[in-house]
Amino acid sequence: MRHPPEDGTPPTFSRRAFLKGASAAAVTGTVPGALPTAPSGPTSYAPGSHAITLSVNGGERRLEVEPRTTLLDALRDRLDLTGAKKICDRGACGGCTVELDGIAVNSCMVLAIDAVGMKVTTIEGLAPGEALHPLQEEFVHCDALQCGFCTPGFVMAAHACLNKHKNPDRATIQHELSGNLCRCGTYGRVFEAVERAAGRKG
């Protein structure tokens, strides 16, 4: 879900056009490419506002969303969890990275209604209270940030990387973070921070 199609083919429809079609036909299936005429899954949502419950950072949160509301907009605008950033809004920069059941996703490419029943972890939920996660400590230690706007996305992508790999080498880290963009140019120090955090974990 994080990466554009492997073969590099451009998307053939815009998300908005798809969502509009989808909401008109009242569907729930949001697997990329699923047609609005072929609803699947247990629940259908008509256009308009719906009350849903999301499991976010260990708590149950009730909120109103439209079927077209992205998980990113739901987190940011409805739940005031603004750590995930809206940067490209098209799954190209990783700035909105959160974990769904432990797997990193671009939350701008997931509909809020599709996250129902899954465990959502945002940057705000990475470490409890005032404590920092080792990754966060290493990002500060290595100064792996400048303006900081991409930083939550990088920390979450790095967290998912360390979930997958016990002791990732530099190439693995680069690959796992390849869906994230930074404009200030912090990549090198981000890699160092992830390596150091991995070392501590190991």
């Binding site: 470490a127 500060v140 303006c147 900081g148 140019g185």
Partner: protein, 743 residues
């Protein structure tokens, strides 16, 4: 009234090249730090002051402001590149669900200057509702033929099939340069091109606005809190004192965010019209197409050189591509090579029906350095001289001459350079061609007056430093914190910096790499005043003569009596907080008025696909006194990475039929990403400037000047022919390789 001045003798320059100079300093100011100053905190590695806020997601940017009843705004834009607005009907949009305000920004008859020019603005309960309403806005236009291809625009030079300008050199100022060209032993002429680059700040332009009656508070993503306040006051016609601008954090600007912009003004107008707070942030597509860019350029150079490598003539001509304004596309060649060279510089602009260019990180310099430094390597090749030797022969900057030597040694220039350009390494994979290149870097960025800093010392020994300017992520907060700690002789953890609130003392716009050099002397002065005030308060409490009490090195000493720790001295303050305001005095003549640097790059080029990969880069850069070392290094590395992006990847692609940018996103507008990262090293070259009490200079821009030039020269060294058109994409490399085979 002329200020009273005190003369100090200070030691400036750099290790191995120290000089004693006399500086005349305002007698309220402090003796400048110099080469002999022993620092406790300055120049050390410290954690970024707002690092924890940023890694936890707690940092609130303008985009992150949520307020009760907040509405979401957007701008409706023209789809045509040139023409007039014929009709505009907003009624259907106003009737859409959730819509709270709709404004026209242009009336029928108004000119449309580029695809994306603003027409109307909408605020609604959600952004989706605002988008739905935008589709109901009925706009009609009278389109006119547009020109978005710079080569087709009026005033553009004609290029031949090899991309060389065919126009004759201008008449103006020709006599001296023609004579020098005629007299030169070797003459080369070539045309270079740079494409338009967008700033691509990750936080888009915009702000969140809230009115309280006739008072306005905005949270803005800006490089100029005070400029934004002034801009809003002027446009909205309300007193500046009624406006507060907050920018505690901001997600990148790179020169594009000095004004509130149409988006900022419209957020405020929509908020007024809807009587509710409004957030209006541009979309990624708008950010690419409507928020400025680094202008493209066509640069023609002819230069003469003698057998010994001395450049004797340098004729430089540029046609900038600044969009519809037709202004601001100038580029800049390095000057340190040409101090005693016959030289001419001709600048023109070519207007196109595209978004206007804006300042972008060293505006005009990366283009000019790319063209000039590549020409220098072509000249060096023509006379069979090593590019480094050629630089050492012509460079007249003594700081950079030392940097060239240090950099060449650290990079192992002599052994890594490809001795047989166009040929693969002996015994290596014949598919890959390796090469190394270099470039000079330069900038001013010495700062100037126009800043004040409040310093407070509380009874709990917490020290507060406050200034209303913004920290773009360069580390300004850390700089303020470290300098106050240094002057007070206390740990940095005892100092809390606050920035980005226009109710605090005035500070500069963050452009021209002036923020640290402007702010640093003011915070040092503030801390020194606070130190003296603390001593005076202690003297009063203890009932001793104030002249006998001194605060320095983190303690308060009574002459012939006791010594109190800083913490114990502060306890005597009670509720009577020390509060002083430090000044920024004008620069005096110090060691240098500019900074120097140089960069080295190694690339490999895939002969089969034309792909260029940067393998390794090194920068040696002077920024005067290094205050926050870790953050200064981060900024240096960041500017190099942005330079890789400019050299290899970034290009605005326009469909000239519709006049629209077709890659206005992050999928097809390629930024350098994690997989493209070379090895990279930044060496900060310490120079004591003594031009202020701190002697700091900026580092944001000088480093951004050189990477594309160094990489282009490395490609030249790898494949044996120069590729004179940025970005260095595979198509151009393959074409150059094919041409090289034909020759």
């Amino acid at each position: 009234m002329n200020p009273r001045r005190e003369e100090h003798e200070i030691t400036v320059g750099f290790a191995g090249n120290a000089k004693k100079i006399k500086v005349k300093v305002d007698d309220r100011d402090l003796r400048p730090w110099d080469l002999e100053t022993k620092f406790q905190t300055v120049g050390t590695d410290q954690a970024r002051a707002d690092g924890v806020a940023k890694v936890t997601g707690r940092a609130r940017y303008a985009y992150d402001i949520n307020l009760p009843g907040l509405l979401h705004g957007l701008i409706v834009r023209a789809p045509i590149a040139k023409g007039t607005l014929k009709a505009l009907d907003l009624e259907a949009a106003k009737a859409m669900p959730g819509v709270k305000a709709v404004l026209a920004t242009k009336q029928p008859g108004a000119r449309i200057r580029f695809a994306g020019d603003d027409v109307a603005a909408i605020a609604a309960e959600t952004l989706d509702a605002a988008r739905d309403a935008a589709e109901k806005v009925r706009m009609e236009f009278t389109a006119e033929p547009h020109v978005t291809d710079v080569l087709e625009a009026p005033g553009a030079p004609k290029l031949d099939q090899d991309g060389e300008v065919t126009a004759p050199w201008p008449e103006r100022g020709a006599e001296r340069i023609e004579t020098a060209i005629q007299a030169a032993r070797h003459v080369r002429s070539a045309t270079y091109r740079c494409e338009v680059q967008t700033h691509s700040s990750l936080e888009t332009h915009g702000l969140t606005a809230r009115w309280y009656g006739d008072r306005l508070t905005v949270w803005a993503s800006t490089q100029a809190t005070f400029g934004t306040r002034a801009g809003l006051a002027g446009t909205l016609r309300i007193p500046a004192e009624n406006i507060t601008v907050h920018t505690e954090f901001m997600g990148g600007g790179f020169g594009s965010k000095f004004q509130p912009g149409i988006e900022g003004v419209l957020a405020c107008r929509l908020a007024k019209a809807a009587d509710a707070p409004v957030k209006l942030m541009l979309s990624r597509h708008e950010e690419h197409t409507c928020a400025g860019n680094r202008p493209g350029a066509i640069i023609q150079i002819r230069a003469g050189v003698n057998d010994d490598g001395k450049i004797t003539a340098f004729d430089y001509r540029c046609w900038g591509e600044p969009g519809f304004t037709g202004q601001g596309g100038g580029t800049r060649a390095p000057s340190d090579y040409f101090r005693d060279t016959a030289r001419r510089d001709t600048q023109d602009n070519v207007a196109t029906d595209m978004d206007a260019g804006r300042a972008m990180r060293a505006p005009g310099w990366p283009q000019g350095f790319f063209a000039t430094e590549l020409m220098l390597d072509e000249l060096a090749a023509a006379i069979g001289m090593d590019p480094l030797e050629f630089r050492l022969k012509n460079d007249r900057n003594e700081v950079r001459l030392a940097e060239w030597r240090q950099g060449a040694e650290a990079f192992r220039w002599a052994e890594r350079r490809n001795k047989t350009p166009g040929q693969p390494r002996a015994g290596g994979d014949p598919r890959w061609l390796h090469g190394c290149g270099l470039s000079s870097a330069a900038w001013g960025g010495m700062g100037g007056p126009g800043a004040r800093v409040t310093c407070r010392i509380h009874a709990d020994a917490r020290v507060e430093v406050r200034n209303g300017a913004q920290d773009l992520g360069t580390g300004l907060k850390t700089v303020l914190q470290m300098l106050a700690a240094e002057e007070l002789g206390i740990p940095v953890a005892m100092v809390t910096p606050f920035v980005g609130d226009t109710r605090d003392p005035v500070g500069p716009a963050s452009g021209g790499s002036v923020t640290t050099p402007t702010m640093a002397p003011a915070v040092r002065h503030a801390a020194a005043l606070a130190r003296r005030e603390l001593a005076a308060r202690v003297a009063a409490k203890l009932g001793v003569d104030a002249a006998k009490v001194a605060c320095a090195g983190g303690q308060v000493t009574v002459e012939g009596g006791q010594t109190l720790s800083f913490v114990d001295a502060c306890k005597l303050l009670g509720s009577d907080t020390v509060e002083v305001v430090g000044e920024r005095f004008p620069n005096h003549q110090g060691y240098a008025n500019s900074v120097a640097g140089c960069q080295f790059a190694e690339v490999r080029v895939d002969r089969h696909t034309g792909l260029v990969q940067v393998l390794d880069m090194l920068a040696v850069q002077d920024c005067g006194t290094v205050v926050a070392r870790k953050q200064a290094e981060s900024q240096t590395l960041g500017a190099m990475i942005q330079g890789v992006s400019y050299a290899l990847h970034e290009q605005r692609i326009v469909d000239h039929l519709t006049g629209r940018m077709v890659n206005g996103d992050f999928l097809y507008y390629k930024l350098t990403g994690p997989l493209d990262m070379p090895a990279m090293r930044a060496i900060l070259f310490p120079v004591a400037n003594g031009h202020t009490n701190v002697g700091a200079a900026g580092i944001g821009e000088p480093v951004a000047v050189a990477p594309a030039a160094a990489i282009a020269n490395a490609v030249f060294n790898a494949i044996g022919v120069p590729v004179r058109h940025l970005p260095l994409t595979p198509d151009k490399i393959l074409k150059a390789l094919a041409r090289a085979r034909r020759v």
